[in-house]
């Protein structure tokens, strides 16, 4: 099949699934709905594989399949086509999206089967995939933006899926509006780039990227990329717009796995990698990205330490891991960022689905304080979860190790890196190891704190198969990008990942000046892995062996613990400083400006007219003699005017 056809099917298949399920949204036939939806994604997955194979068959420099369906907008010199492109970067993305997507769809059949809105759920899920595919395949920033907003919409619908709960509906709204703040910046970023380069086509933009670094903060490329990055902080939940993601856990758990871990939230990273030639020439933007990424990685990890909701822990962990990806792209390690994006998609989707399996088993209980000892009830879930846990804390040879290690190495060694960035990353990794182990310990290990009325049970195969597949991927997923030092040590395993992405990744111009030795790399790797191991061990002891140790630590830290436990009061600050004042100011605007100033001013004018009217009216008082007097006065005035003038 031609690649145009494949891309069309790839895109339209989920849309068809959406329509098929959407028109019969009242149905509660979960099997039919699930089969349609999963089938649709599976078709897309097949197309994605076919496209990937086609790409592999091409010489590296020509790996670029494009298609343009129609001219979408054309005004003046602004022309945007409904054009899509599959190249090395987007091929990886579509494989992840449709691959992980179909697993999650499959899982959903089991997870959502008792829900009345199951057909609607699958419709939304398919619609999300459609938008996500547009996002990654779009050949111009505007086409990407279509998907960008579309996934935001789906996220809104799915977070507020159980809309009868006011808090869940509010979480959906919060997600959409927070994303919109980023989107507004994204729009401005597009304008800046369009006005500078005269196109929004990403391939052309990359080709037009200047060769000289922009050192000024006010340069067009710097400002444009900075705006795009603000857009990315919204979508990918970075400081300062990360607040929506933890709340987004109000949605069904597979949604959290698909949208809020594996795919949508990585869109920001993807966008930056996609436009890497532009970002490279704006070192200031890159610096901001790296700092924001590192700060988010640490901040979210600290909040993760105190959360008690299994999904919230994972959510903060996602925010933190996304911080790593931004740290990577911020120091110019675009390949490493993409690499972590992929491995994270595997192990985080796995862990979210695992948590879904746990929640399913616990009858909708999400509080890890009421779990414990679930290992024996949920053996498969536990086993796969352990794989995910090992991957995320960066134990070799699990997937997360390779990608995280590469990021940390670049944070230190890249010409745009800094030892402080590495330290932040290492602290983040240590914290991650701690809170993930805490999560494992409280959920699966130790003694059971499960309520007597609840009888946990292992999930059905339809849910455990996706877990197993993802578990496998969490183990081997990192092997495609084994760093040089290790591969030389083990025996020349080629770094597929780097070769694959090479044609599209711009090398940092400063790169050649600094040389780093392999010893350094080994040393840093050793430090981060041992830090993670120690902290994981500490957490394991604290939460399984020594009951009460955790509380003692919490008490010892007192106010700091309280601050972290309340998520640094960021939500409260946003409400107190921005939202509430804005709403009350709006009320004032309405009451004072509209009602009191503008309307009163118009009333004043009408009063004036009315006053004039009543004055004239008083002249006509019915007294004929006075009327006669007016006539006389008039004649006198007219005559005297004629005489004088």
């Amino acid at each position: 099949m031609s690649h145009q056809m494949l891309i069309a099917i790839l895109l339209l298949s989920p849309l068809v699934g959406f329509i098929l399920n959407g028109v019969r949204f009242r149905s509660s036939n979960y099997l039919l709905a699930g089969s349609i939806a999963t089938g649709a994604v599976a078709v897309s997955f097949a197309c994605a594989i076919a496209l990937f194979m086609q790409l592999v068959g091409l010489p590296p420099e020509q790996r670029r399949l494009t298609v343009s369906f129609f001219e979408w907008i054309s005004v003046g010199s602004f022309k945007v086509n409904a054009g899509f492109v599959v190249d090395q970067i987007s091929a990886i993305m579509i494989l992840i999206i449709t691959g992980v997507g179909s697993l999650i769809h499959l899982f959903s059949i089991g997870y959502m089967h008792h829900d009345k809105g199951v057909t609607k759920y699958f419709a939304y899920l398919n619609f999300f995939l459609f938008n996500m595919l547009i996002l990654v395949l779009g050949d111009s920033l505007l086409t990407m933006f279509v998907g960008w907003e579309g996934v935001g919409l789906c996220s809104y619908l799915l977070i507020g899926f159980w809309f009868n709960d006011s808090a869940k509906a509010a979480a959906g709204m919060k997600a959409f509006i927070t994303n919109r703040i980023g989107d507004a910046a994204f729009i401005i970023g597009m304008f800046i780039l369009f006005m500078t380069f005269g196109t929004l086509n990403m391939h052309e933009l990359n080709g037009l990227a200047p060769t000289i670094m922009e050192s000024s903060w006010l340069g067009a490329v710097t400002l444009g990329t900075l705006m795009l990055f603000i857009g990315a902080t919204g979508k990918s939940a970075q400081i300062p717009l990360y607040v929506w993601l933890p709340d987004a856990m109000a949605g069904p758990t597979p949604v959290s796995a698909l949208i809020h871990a594996a795919t949508m939230v990585t869109a920001g990273v993807y966008m930056i990698v996609r436009l890497n030639p532009l970002f490279v020439v704006a070192p200031n933007t890159m610096m901001v990205i790296a700092i924001v990424g590192a700060a988010t990685a640490v901040l979210a990890a600290t909040i993760g330490l105190t959360q008690t909701d299994i999904k919230k822990v994972l959510a903060y962990s996602t925010v933190s891991q996304l911080g790593y990806m931004f740290l990577a792209v911020g120091v110019g390690a675009f390949g490493a960022g993409m690499f972590h994006l992929m491995t994270h998609a595997f192990f985080k989707a796995l862990m979210f689905l695992g948590s879904g399996s746990v929640i399913h088993a616990m009858h909708e209980e999400q509080d890890i304080r009421k779990m414990g000892g679930l290992k024996k009830y949920l053996p498969i879930t536990h086993f796969t979860f352990v794989l995910g846990w090992l991957a995320i804390i960066g134990m070799p040879p699990f997937a997360g190790f390779f990608s995280k290690d590469e990021i940390l190495w670049f944070a230190y060694s890249s010409p745009r890196g800094h030892i402080l960035l590495w330290i932040a990353g290492a602290i983040g990794a240590t914290l991650t190891a701690f809170y993930m182990t805490r999560l494992m310990a409280l959920t699966f290990w130790g003694s059971s704190r499960v309520d007597k009325s609840v009888h946990p049970h292992e999930s059905p195969l339809v849910m455990t198969i996706p877990l197993m597949v993802l578990g496998l991927l969490s183990v081997i997923g990192g092997w495609v990008g084994i760093p040089h030092v290790i591969s030389e040590f083990v025996g020349h395993i080629p770094n597929f990942w780097e070769h694959w992405l090479e044609p599209l990744i711009t090398k940092l111009p400063e790169a050649s000046q600094v040389a780093h030795s392999a010893t350094e790399e080994w040393a840093l790797m050793g430090v981060s892995v041992s830090l993670a191991s120690i902290s994981a061990l500490a957490a394991f002891i604290m939460y399984t062996k020594k009951a009460g140790a955790a509380d003692k630590v919490a008490n010892a830290f007192g106010p700091v613990y309280k601050l972290v436990d309340n998520k640094y009061y960021v939500d409260e600050a946003y409400f107190g400083v921005i939202i509430n004042p804005l709403v009350s100011a709006s009320r004032d605007l309405w009451h004072y400006v509209d009602v009191n100033v503008i309307d009163k001013a118009t009333y004043k004018i009408t009063d004036l007219v009315r006053g004039g009217g009543s004055f004239v009216r008083s002249l006509q008082n019915g007294n004929m003699q006075q009327y006669a007097m007016y006539v006389v006065l008039g004649v006198v005035i007219a005559l005297s005017y004629m005489l004088v003038g």
Binding site: G76, F78, E149, N164, M173, I187, F191, D594
Partner: protein
């Protein structure tokens, strides 16, 4: 004769409806008539040559010779779309008011048809006085529609609406008469009210001096149109009028009448007073930008759904004003497109609010809640329309808003930076409203309806779905294939931009020449 037929057919319909003997079939008759009118407009669309910026289907008959006033009509790409919008919305309005208007049905439909004539006339008139007649005529039926079929404070609202608009129109009339007195310069001694002769005038402009002819005329015209739009701070009549108007009245008002203001900026102000527009455009851009933010903020805190949508109109119309006064291709095309979008999405919102009002007899947001489970189809449609209103891509709203923002960025990045906040605020007030009305636990109204079998909430009827279907179709069609629509107006708008300093409709020969280039 095409245009005259189009404009005056509704008058004939109004008469027939008024004297129709059978009360029960008046609605069917009116619906049939409005569909006929739409078909006629389609016929016209089909005859229209979209490759030409020239004035087409011209009709000119002398009317009052002494003052050079003539019956002069013509159509170009700019007016075409608005004419289509008018004829498209009317059947929808009639079908939408099937149940809500149950008194003086004949009178209502007659008024609606007269209003249609007035609106079409003011889009098509190319003679200043003829235009003025239609412009003022549009007030009369609207006055009755709000005043007779409106809510409890309808008299206050109609009077406010009438006086506001009238105040602006008087200034415009003065300006028109003044310009007619200038025309002998270009016509060789004869007075003329033809827009084409107005275009030929070179009205003196001295930059910086407010009391020059062009500046004064510019403000006289612009004020009249700005009130109609309505532009901040002249907007306060709009929320009142919308809240008190019956549903069909609100739809016409938001859907078409507001566009008369913005359309006239394009047709009259920009080509007639190019220097003044360029020089004082920033005032309107500033007012538009304030309107965007202000309308959105005030909409956010409204307790009444209809008032919320009314204020959202202030915000959306602010976008259009900004777009038009940027005077570049993006802003003007986007502004024109946004006129259609706003007509469709806000019209749809008012229809939907009308439908829910028929069921619950309340518009207070705080009394709603949990409607989504009671009325699923209604909710789906409402959310789709909401998405169009807040300009989510692949709906019509996005194209217009994006182009306007792009145009404003070209005009000044600062303007775009402020306007873009409307994107966020728009989402905030609409989604917050959606959340409070549809989501969350069942609110007071839903609970009451569950107790009382008589007032049980029914989801949309087949008629109501038919009302919404064309609007939903347009939302996606216009979002996916904007070129299908813009192709009709693009040539005219581009021609306006290229020749704005010395605008006049191209003749056939000129047109051919520009195309060769």
């Amino acid at each position: 004769m095409m245009l005259s037929l189009l404009v005056f057919l509704p008058v004939f319909f109004a008469l027939v409806v008024a004297i129709w003997p059978q009360k029960s079939t008046v609605r069917h008759l009116a619906l049939g008539f409005s569909i006929i009118e739409f078909l006629v407009s389609l016929l016209m669309l089909q005859k229209f040559d979209s490759n030409s910026a020239a004035l087409q289907m011209v009709e000119k008959v002398s009317w009052i010779d002494r003052f050079g006033i003539s019956y002069f009509m013509g159509i170009d790409g700019i007016s075409l779309m608005l004419v289509m919008l008018t004829t498209f919305l009317t059947p929808i309005i009639i079908l939408g008011s099937w149940k809500s208007i149950d008194q003086r049905v004949k009178g209502f439909h007659s008024a609606l048809f007269i209003l249609q004539t007035a609106m079409l006339g003011s889009f098509l008139a190319m003679d200043a006085i003829l235009f003025y007649v239609f412009w003022e005529l549009s007030l009369v039926p609207m006055y009755f529609i709000v005043g007779i079929w409106g809510g409890s404070r309808r008299i206050y609202a109609t009077v406010k609406f009438f006086i506001y608009t009238m105040a602006g129109s008087v200034l415009m009339l003065l300006a028109i008469i003044f310009m007619m007195n200038l025309t002998p310069e270009v016509t060789g001694g004869v007075m003329s009210a033809s827009l084409l002769d107005f275009y030929k005038l070179e009205i003196p402009f001295i930059s910086g001096d407010f009391f020059t002819t062009q500046t004064m005329l510019f403000f006289a015209f612009a004020l009249a149109f700005a009130i109609k739009v309505p532009m901040f701070p002249l907007h306060t009549w709009l929320p009142d009028a919308h809240v008190e108007a019956p549903t069909p009245g609100s739809v016409v008002l938001a859907g078409v009448m507001l566009k008369m203001g913005t359309y006239c900026f394009l047709r009259w102000v920009i080509p007639l007073f190019p220097e003044a527009t360029e020089h004082y455009g920033w005032i309107f851009i500033a007012a538009g930008v304030i309107g965007i933010v202000y309308g959105a903020l005030v909409a956010m805190v409204q307790p009444d759904v209809k008032k919320l949508v009314a204020y959202s109109s202030v915000s959306h119309m602010g976008y259009i004003i900004v777009g038009l006064f940027t005077m570049n291709a993006y802003g003007l095309n986007g502004g024109l497109y946004q006129m259609l979008n706003h007509g469709i999405s806000t019209g749809a919102l008012f229809l939907l609010i009308g439908m829910i009002y028929e069921r619950t007899h309340s518009r207070e947001i705080s009394k709603y809640g949990g409607l989504a489970s009671a009325l699923p189809i209604f909710t789906i449609i409402f959310v789709i329309v909401t998405m169009s209103s807040i300009a989510v891509p692949l709906t019509n709203g996005f194209i217009g808003e994006f182009l306007i923002l792009l145009g404003s960025f070209q005009y000044s990045p600062a303007v775009a930076a402020v306007s873009v906040s409307g994107v966020v605020l728009g989402a905030a007030y609409m989604l917050w409203m959606v959340k409070r009305v549809f989501f969350g636990p069942k609110g007071q109204l839903v609970l009451e309806s569950e107790k009382d079998a008589h007032h049980a909430l029914h989801d949309l009827s087949a008629r109501e779905i038919v009302v919404m279907a064309p609007l939903l179709l347009m939302i996606f069609w216009m979002g996916l294939f904007p070129n299908h629509f813009m192709d009709y107006s693009k040539v005219s708008v581009d021609y306006l931009i290229k020749n704005k300093m010395n605008y006049s409709f191209p003749t056939g020969a000129e047109q051919a020449h520009t195309e060769e280039k």
